[in-house]
Symmetry: C2
Subunit: 305 residues, 2 copies
């Protein structure tokens, strides 16, 4: 049970010599997810040694170029690499129409199936649910239909409390699976041993929330309650809060306020406007509201165990 | 009268950490052209200090991703930069449909007009002709409809042969424009001084030809005759000529043979396959056929005066 998040790009608007638009690679409970895919993402994946083949799910927050213009190039590359396994793409309506047109016009060699999951709900919904994770949308507030994503590890089976189990020689190893599954044990004597005596609670499932792009939207706080790791955009410092409001982005203090109100464990900031040459002030300003705030930077890895 | 060519990207297929797909910035006779626009081109433009605002014409050779996936990102950035001036885009049919769909779906802010010049002819044709340059297509042979481009400086007016003019005190400065325009001069005496005596020939107009992607296609040689600078793709070394033929690309020796047969002055190679870690062999192999062969490399500038 662990989260490992690699920042591939974390700047807003336009790629520059050392500024890559949004993309993150999330490893969670043996899933490998790509979140957003700005222009140049595949180059950043090569640079930071992110495996192309492990990714089976791509989540696109919204259809502004700095969040998805790298998608068609990545899909084409997967085709050139000989991929055969199905790829799932989650994103707003029209992502399918556009991608298929690009593949057709470029006479792409991509032979693997692509399953598009087009989103249009304004309420949070479960969009992926398997034995490893649950993924929910986080409806955001931007100039165009936008979702954040909440990634939740599936609860693990309980751990055996071996010391206590040894007190009951009648309990056989064959019972262990039942005990892990939460069942009480009936002894030959007729005594029932409650499961709580035979098990230790499993490690709490970890959660990561990705929120970009968005204006300050306090009503997402309940969805983010107590998450282990929150990425929240902070395009501007507090001195530009009027511009943030106008462009439907957040300021550092607003991102930190969301983190504080939701009692998250750690906050990552990103999506910095190109007008700031030095991003260190983003961290200082956020920490004045929420201490455990950190800066996204290309290649930086955040790990939660 | 000069050519200055900046290589922005020169590798084939997929962007890698230090390998950018095709894009070149051509300054010729005060025009600023972008030729092809693979993913990451705008980042390379920033890196190599290529001005965004001077470009009014973009030429796309063909609709494979490594030659145009950066186009929509560049157009979006021009919009964010507040461009108002018209942009001309030359490329194969469908480039308009795809670009307009991308702009619509992304709700782009690009407010400047875009004039699409969709190409479909299989014969060379003049696609731009103004007071500075003429641009012709070079029909190439690839898996998809592809054109190279031939850029020809416009002939300058003749230069005044001042020493000879001084022999005729009757010739006034007011006549100089007529002399530069090629006219003979009638003296008050009735004598006609032929223009050839009063002028020196202007510098020969320079020519640059861009040929990528293409299989070996000897029938382009007449179009390339004596050009000052030729870029010709060389995806493979001679050892992979079978693969070159199959994928409709050229080998180094084939590119050099085109250069030699067309008697060009200088050859630039590029579009190297990712399978070659060291590209120095491309130069050696080409030079065994055509001495003045050089390697395209990101950021490298080729100048012809």
């Amino acid at each position: 049970m662990s989260i490992r998040l690699t920042i591939l790009g974390c700047h807003s608007a336009t790629p520059r010599a050392k500024a890559y638009p949004t993309s993150q690679y999330l490893e969670i409970n043996n899933h490998h997810f790509l979140i957003d895919c700005g222009e140049g993402t595949q180059r950043q994946m090569r640079k930071y040694k992110v495996g192309f083949s492990k990714i089976n799910h791509i989540f696109i927050s919204h259809l502004h170029g700095d969040h998805f213009f790298g998608l068609i190039g990545l899909i084409s590359t997967l085709g050139l690499l000989g991929r055969e396994r199905e790829l799932h793409i989650f994103g707003p309506k029209d992502i399918k129409k556009m991608t298929l047109m690009q593949l057709k016009i470029t006479q792409s060699h991509a032979k693997f199936p692509i399953q598009f999951h087009e989103l249009s709900s304004k309420e949070s919904e479960v969009i992926l649910d398997d034995d490893k994770v649950t993924v929910k949308t986080i409806p955001l507030k931007h100039r165009i239909y936008t979702n954040g994503y909440l990634f939740i590890e599936k609860e693990k089976p309980k751990n055996l409390h071996i010391d206590n189990i040894k007190n009951y020689p009648e309990i056989d190893r064959a019972d262990y699976l039942n005990i892990k599954a939460g069942k009480d044990i009936l002894l030959p004597s007729g005594e029932v041993v409650p499961n709580s005596e035979l098990t230790l609670p499993p490690k709490k499932p970890l959660r990561f929330a990705f929120c970009s792009d968005t204006a300050y939207k306090p009503n997402i706080v309940p969805l983010l309650r107590d998450v282990d790791l929150l990425y929240h955009e902070a395009t501007f410092l507090d001195d530009r809060k009027d511009l943030a409001k106008k462009t439907m982005h957040a300021t550092t203090k607003q991102a930190a306020t969301i983190a504080k109100d939701a009692n998250v464990k750690q906050l990552i900031l990103g999506h910095y406007s190109g007008r700031y040459k030095d991003i260190s002030e983003f961290k200082e300003e956020a920490q004045s509201v929420f201490t455990n705030s950190h800066l996204a930077e290309p290649g930086k890895v955040f790990t939660v165990l």
